[in-house]
Symmetry: C2
Subunit: 274 residues, 2 copies
């Protein structure tokens, strides 16, 4: 198979644009997955990707060979010289394989057990102006692991489908319905259950709050927190109690703590152990 070696090749130029530009990704509805893990997670949920892109040396990798052998007839294969692949890849030490995919509409994602938690109650996450793609990806990953079905992102959030966010979420994108550019006030008002925000000033603790049942958690911008409008649309405000000399948690860490307090309550672990 012939490999692309020219920077002027239109396909290569498209990859670079997709890598760099949220506007381009949204205009054409495409993005890039880097590495076998993300590609496998995508395939498991949504079937084969449009195109697989492999580096010359990636062609020699056993795992990549296996993936290519199983790829199905509809999947295009493009081989790039190692130099071009490294330029197009979103990671510093590229794994040798990428996939070009259509960004899936939220409704096409086959959410865990009909989009409901283990016991059938809806569990959603609302994020306002979450700016760091690493934080956003980590929150998506924790939300999927805790059984959430839907994540609503306001305008001003990092692009959910950027290679950075995809990498941090490790495949959670294909287990959650992600609704970008949502009106969070509208979503919160329409939600049939508790809409809970964490704030430093709240008097009720996370651990005093019933989190089984229908729950939406709301988290705000890393620096500024939640806007007044979104805060007013919540039904409860809680705090995460701290024991140390600081009251400071990373947004993704705070979200994980909240999500897994819900998991703990849903699991109804017998208390006999302690």
């Amino acid at each position: 198979m012939k490999s692309l070696t020219s920077r002027d090749n239109p396909f290569f130029r498209q990859l670079i644009k997709l890598e760099d530009s949220v506007r381009q990704r949204r205009a054409v509805g495409l993005t890039l997955l880097d590495g076998i893990h993300l590609i496998s997670a995508y395939r498991l949920a949504l079937g084969p990707p449009k195109t697989l892109i492999v580096s010359e040396s990636g062609c020699e990798n056993m795992e990549i060979k296996r993936l290519l052998a199983e790829r199905g007839v509809d999947v295009d294969l493009v081989v790039l010289s190692d130099v071009l692949f490294r330029e197009a890849s979103p990671v510093k030490t590229p794994t040798g394989i990428m996939a070009l995919i259509s960004i899936p509409p939220a409704a096409t994602i086959p959410v865990h057990k009909d989009g409901k938690g283990e016991r059938g109650e809806p569990f959603c996450v609302l994020l306002e102006a979450m700016q760091d793609p690493g934080n956003l990806g980590s929150i998506l990953r924790s939300a999927a692991a805790a059984g959430a079905s839907d994540v609503y992102l306001s305008d001003g959030c990092a692009d959910a489908w950027s290679p950075k966010t995809l990498r941090a979420a490790m495949g959670a994108h294909f287990l959650l319905r992600i609704h970008e550019r949502s009106d969070l006030v509208e979503v919160a008002r329409a939600f049939n259950g508790k809409v809970i925000a964490t704030t430093l000033k709240a008097r009720i603790s996370l651990y005093q709050t019933q989190l089984t049942g229908s729950i939406a958690f709301v988290f705000g911008n890393e620096g500024a927190g939640l806007s007044d409008a979104v805060l007013r649309a919540t039904s409860e405000q809680i705090n995460i109690p701290m024991l140390g000399g600081t009251e400071s948690l990373n947004a993704a860490a705070a979200a994980a703590v909240c999500f897994f307090e819900r998991v703990r309550q849903m699991k109804k672990i017998p208390r006999s152990v302690f």
Copy 2:
């Protein structure tokens, strides 16, 4: 006050080296704090920094002016042209102020309530080959908020004192004793209490495990997890139960979930609410 404008200035060149090179930071025992928040956290715990570095336009900022006015006679002040400041700063949108500090030895950190948790029991964190500075910083931040006293890092961890780790930890460095290049097997064996690792295969859940008392949590590399040697030196292995279609959490999210399950158990919140 005259500002530095030349890239050949030895002080400016030192800043660039400190910014870029862990070897340089370790050789001279210095690092850089960017922004008022980090500088204030340092000063609160350890007193004034060696040198404050301000950009020309930073000199006009009210908050920075106040900080400079209070700085004390022993603190050197260096003004950089905006161009040079931007080059020396570890962040994309510099705040206009940095501090040059000596990396504090672990023993000099005034840990929360004599280095013990709210009820006097030691609480430590061991990290093996944690490679992402963002994850490392987030774990330090969560550990400080949950009342940990000591964090032990193996060889192969990201540099705890890099500007990236410092930024992600938001001042937690000055509330924790951080022991770099530790032999974790030795630390685990010498620890007088439970040494707990999370693994996917463990049969006992986090929520079935008593976490009050003397606890050390151990977390491994983001990809490879813990080495066999460190795993053998733990006293308990537990899992974090998941409800979703995945069993995957970011290392910093998993750490936050474990730390705050300890906080929940230590707080002994009345259960009357649900």
